[in-house]
Each structure stands twice: as structure tokens, then as C-alpha cells.
Amino acid sequence: MISLSPRKDIPLTLTLMTPVVAIALTLVIGAAIFGILGYDPLAALYQFFIAPVSRPDQIADLFVKACPLIIIASGLVFAYRANVWNIGAEGQMILGAMAAGFVALTWPNLPGPVMMPAMILAGMLGGLAWGMIPALLKTRFNTNEILVSLMLTYVAVLLIDWTVRGPWRDPMSFGFPLTPMYADAALISRVELPGVGRLGQLHWGVAGALIFALAAWFVLGRSILGFQVKVMGDAPRAGRFAGFSPALVTIIVMAISGGAAGLAGMVEVSANIGQLQPDISFGYGFTAIIVAFLARLNPLAVIIAGLVVALAELGGDSAQIALAMQKVVTGVFKGILLFMLLAGETFNRYHVTISLPYRARLRGDRMQADRMQGDSGA
């Protein structure tokens, strides 16, 4: 039996410890799963979490992997804070990549200073537009945004598949489902560190992601918009009395999270791929949900959470190569981590007592006896 009683105040150390403990427990359970699967648990954990970051260029690649996760999760934080469940970031990311790709492929001769801003804008608008569908259907027809945004992800996957196999396919691609390569002005360049040169795949989009997370943190924590979002999530009734419009907040947070996902799609393609293809995302839109929760819906913490989750992703690759382990192990890890985080949230908010059933009954009886005694005394 598990009994919960709400905590009066939540100590800061507990708040900070929760994700750490959740990660530690995930590692323990992960080691157990590796053991069951017949791998040496320590070697597997080493491959998963140490090997991928043992050189400076690998650490740079960790940031590259975390880049789309950080951008998307920074946007999702707004939606989840407002209790709007946008789980279609994957589709919004694809639409962002397509919109940016449309600009890059239609006007390949645009000069760099025009091309980049135009693509960024197009990417954000593409994701925003895709996010507006569930938002408007929710505010207008009261439909469930979870189901609509998810269904639209399946539609987006099919849509990009059709465009790169059909109208946008490069005639010179020998039948491969690929668009032409973007012009140089449409590509995000690698970072040249003074004295070091290029480090792994590190590109300027990573800097953009960090700035984006900072901006999200500022807007959420320091602006009236952020305040509205938080009030509508925590106390919708109070928000309505204050004159905030639930519909408007829904639309705004869907616009922010959709736009962020679209931006991530644009960055991912322009920095790492250079052309559109059927698979431009590898589930980043879904993984970012975990990042947002690991960060406890705080955009600054999203940066760290994005790096942690990206590490698990890279670890999956590394374990696959070194130990011939299935890549899907990463998915199991992500699921367990999310479970641990959610349970950790409960330990944060409540005093949790876990006891055997008969002892719980005993305590219940005693409480009842106390109460009766109190009644007779009064």
C-alpha cells in the first residue's frame, strides 16, 4: 500500500535531487536489464555513457545531437506548463524542415544574409502552421489536442515522403528519394574555434539552440506572457477571473512549441543533412518530450536535460557498434527514465509511505481510534 500526504513546503534540494536520483535509478535498472540480456552490465554502461564522450570532438558531437532536442523542448515547456499537451512536435519539426527547404530549393540564388533569415522564418512558420491545426480545432471545436497533434505527425511523415519522392525529387538523384543539395548560403556552417579549428560536427545552430533556450527561460520567467501561461496551467479558474483567455493561451503555447519544433527541423537539415530526405528526424520530437520533463519544465534546465538524453542516444549508437546491442535499447532507457522522473515528482510533492497491507490497516485502525477518542474528549 502506498499512502500520500502533501508536503507543506518543497525544499529546493529535493527539487534538484529528483532528476539526479531518477537518472541514478534508471542506470541501476538499465544495468539489470543489460545483465538479463546477457551483457556485462558495467561494460554496457561504459559504452552507453562514458565512451561517447571520451574525446573533445565527441563532446562537441554531443551538443550537436542535443541541439534539436533543446530547441524543441524549450518550446514544449510552454505548452506543458499551460496544460496543453502538444505531442506532435515530430510532425511540426518535419513541416518546419519542409517550409525551410521550400525556400532553399525555390530561390537557391538568394544571398546568404537573406537566405538564412528567410529559412529560419519559414521553418518556424511551417512548424507553427502545423501546430495551429490542433490549437484551432481545440479552441473552436473542443477536440483533443493530444490525438490531433499525434495524427498530424503521421500525416507529416507521409507528406515529406511524397514530396521528396514526387515533386521535389532531384532529377539527378538516380531515383533516390532526395531533393537537390541546398546552396551553400542555405547551409549552417561549422564552428571554427580559434586555435583548435573544427571540433567534430559542431555547427552554429548549437549556439542558436542555447540562445533559444535562454530566451525561452526569460519569456517564461520574466514576462506577462510567461505568467499567463503558468497561471492557466496551475490555476485555470484564477486565470479566468484575472481576465486571461484560455483559448488565446492555448493558441500562443501551440504557436511557440510548433514554431520551435519547426526551427529545429530547419536547423537539423541545414546543419547536418543539406537536403530533404524521407527521414529528417529520428524521433527528436518525441524524445524532446522526455527532455522537457527531465528539465522539470524549466527552459534553462532543458539545456542540461537535452545533453543527458542526447548522451543516451549516442550511447545507443556506441553500444550497437561495440557490443552489437540493439539500438532500441535507447527507447527502453528513455521510457524508464521518464517513469522514474514522474514517480520522483510524487516524492517531491508528497510524503510517500509504502507499507505492507496489514500494517496499513493497523495504522488506519489506530487513526480511527484516535479520532474517536478525540470526538469523545470534545
Binding site: L147, V328, V329, F339, A343
Partner: protein
């Protein structure tokens, strides 16, 4: 030809009926489990694995149901025991189920099994047309109809069904009357998992006799939409599942007949149809929410 088409439509709707009916009971008790997709995948992989190893399809079906139930138990402990956020926990369950089923199922890829046999009923199965359409299905397809009837009877005509609905509509009152809110909800969640597991099991055992990673392809989510479509009434689940089965098959039939529409657009149909249906149902608030459990998605803990 047409008979075959209708037969495929019926088969396509079977897994949706199981998963959606299970979820309907879960939601009627006031719990929103968004992990249907994950539970179905676990059911599918367990069913295929056990059926392949043991050679027994019945054992496969049972294993599928149990796997779904076990996955649901994890959800139940977190959501009911630890009062975690139901939406987030359901998403986690889907991510977890997709990952674990892929991991467990990796060695099963590329193998094939003999699908569920048609259960022939003497005389009836030999009738022209009707015999083929109504009396020539496998055990699980008949089971789906029986399940809907049983759940409809349970909810409307039994005391336990009344208690379940009471808990879904007002958990505080039900608790005050002495009913175990969390106990009943846990049972409902387990039942939902069992049914999602059965629904998942039907995919590799009957529909496409092999295992592929993520083979549910969003059916778990469509099942969730079906519950809304059915406005929490069991018989309407059956109707909805048939409509979705029809739309899914329409795209295949369209491809076979050489429709000029690109195949990707035909494949979008079930997802787009889900959205359209959700809009049509949800826009009429009174109809949509008439049977909606008032406590849906709200956490309950006794120690207030």
C-alpha cells in the same frame, strides 16, 4: 471480390475493437491511459514470440493479453499508487512499450507463422455470402463482438458496472460511500491492458503473420480516438472500428485498382479521418460529453 474486401475490413477492425473497448472501461473508471499503443506493441511481440516458440496460437493470444496487462500494471502503480500525471505517464508507457517490444522482438524479425485459422460453424458457414461474411471468422473476431456485448451489459446492467461508473464520475463520493477508488481503478487499468494486449496479439497472429517493429502503426492512438468517437458507449466502438477498418482497407483497395492519387495520400486517410471524426463529435459539446466520465484524468488520493 467484394466479399473478400468486406472480410478484410472486418479483420482490420478487430484489434481496434479490443483496444478501444478496454480503454473505454479504463476511462469510465476515471483514468486516462494514453499508453494503448505501447501495450498493444507489447501484446503483439509477446503473442508472436510465444506462438512461434510453442507452436500454439492460443498460448500466443494468452501471452499477448498477459503482456499487455503487465505493462498496464506498471502504469497503474505509477498513476494510482504514486498519483503521477496521467498524460505524461501514458506517453512514457508508449515510449517504453515501443522500445521494449523492439528489443525483445529483434530476433523474431523475418520469421513467419501460420495465422489464426477460420473457425467454421457447421451449416452456417456454408450459407452463400452470409456464411462467408458472418460465420467464417477466427476465434478472436467472434470474441470481439462478445466482448462488446459483455462490456455493454456489465456497464449498464450490473452492480459492479454501476460502481465503476460512479467512481469515474465522482471519486470523492464513491470513496465516502466506502468503495475502493484505487482498487477498482487498478482492476480497470489491468482489464484495459489485457484487452490492448489481445488487440496487439491479433496483428501478428491474424492480420499480418509476422513481427515488425512498431507494427501497430498508430492503431493504439486510433483506439483512443474511437473511445471519444463512441462517446464512451460500447456498441458505438464497434461501429467506429468498422468505419476505420473500412477507411484503412479503402486505401489498399484504391492502390490495387490503380487510383492515380499518390499512395502516401491514401495512407493518410485513416489519420485524417480520425481528425475529422474528432471534430464532428467534439463540436457538439452536449453529445460529446453526455457520457464522459467527470473525473477523467484526475488523480485521486485518499489522504487529503
Amino acid at each position: 471480390m467484394l466479399e473478400d474486401l468486406i472480410l478484410t475490413v472486418l479483420m482490420t477492425s478487430v484489434p481496434l475493437v479490443y483496444a478501444a473497448t478496454g480503454e473505454l472501461i479504463v476511462e469510465r473508471s476515471g483514468v486516462l491511459n494514453l499508453g494503448v499503443e505501447g501495450m498493444m506493441l507489447m501484446g503483439a511481440v509477446a503473442a508472436f514470440g510465444i506462438a512461434m516458440v510453442s507452436g500454439s496460437l492460443v498460448l500466443g493470444v494468452i501471452a499477448g493479453g498477459l503482456a499487455g496487462m503487465l505493462t498496464a500494471a506498471l502504469f497503474g502503480i505509477l498513476v494510482l499508487g504514486f498519483a503521477t500525471n496521467q498524460v505524461a505517464t501514458g506517453l512514457a508507457l508508449t515510449i517504453f512499450g515501443a522500445g521494449l517490444s523492439g528489443l525483445v522482438g529483434a530476433p523474431l524479425i523475418g520469421h513467419a507463422i501460420e495465422g489464426l485459422p477460420v473457425l467454421r460453424i457447421p451449416l452456417l458457414s456454408d450459407l452463400p455470402t452470409v456464411g462467408k461474411l458472418v460465420f467464417s471468422h477466427d476465434l478472436m473476431a467472434y470474441g470481439a463482438v462478445i466482448l462488446v456485448a459483455a462490456v455493454a451489459y456489465f456497464l449498464k446492467r450490473t452492480r459492479a458496472g454501476l460502481v465503476l461508473r460512479a467512481i469515474g464520475d465522482n471519486h470523492d463520493s464513491a470513496h465516502a460511500l466506502g468503495y475502493s477508488v484505487l482498487g477498482v481503478r487498478f482492476m480497470a487499468v489491468l482489464f484495459g491492458g489485457l484487452m490492448a494486449g489481445f488487440g496487439g496479439a491479433y496483428l501478428p497472429l491474424a492480420l499480418t503473420p509476422h513481427w515488425a517493429e512498431g507494427m501497430t502503426a498508430g492503431r493504439g492512438w486510433i483506439a483512443l480516438a474511437l473511445v471519444v468517437f463512441a462517446s464512451w458507449m460500447p456498441w458505438r466502438v464497434l461501429v467506429g472500428a468498422l468505419i476505420f477498418g473500412g477507411i484503412t482497407i479503402m486505401q489498399l483497395a484504391g492502390q490495387a485498382r490503380g487510383w492515380t492519387v499518390p499512395s502516401q495520400f491514401l495512407s493518410m486517410l485513416p489519420y485524417l479521418a480520425t481528425i475529422v471524426v474528432l471534430v464532428l463529435i467534439s463540436r457538439n459539446r452536449e453529445f460529446a460529453l453526455a457520457n464522459s466520465p467527470a473525473c477523467l484524468g484526475r488523480a485521486f488520493h485518499a489522504g487529503k
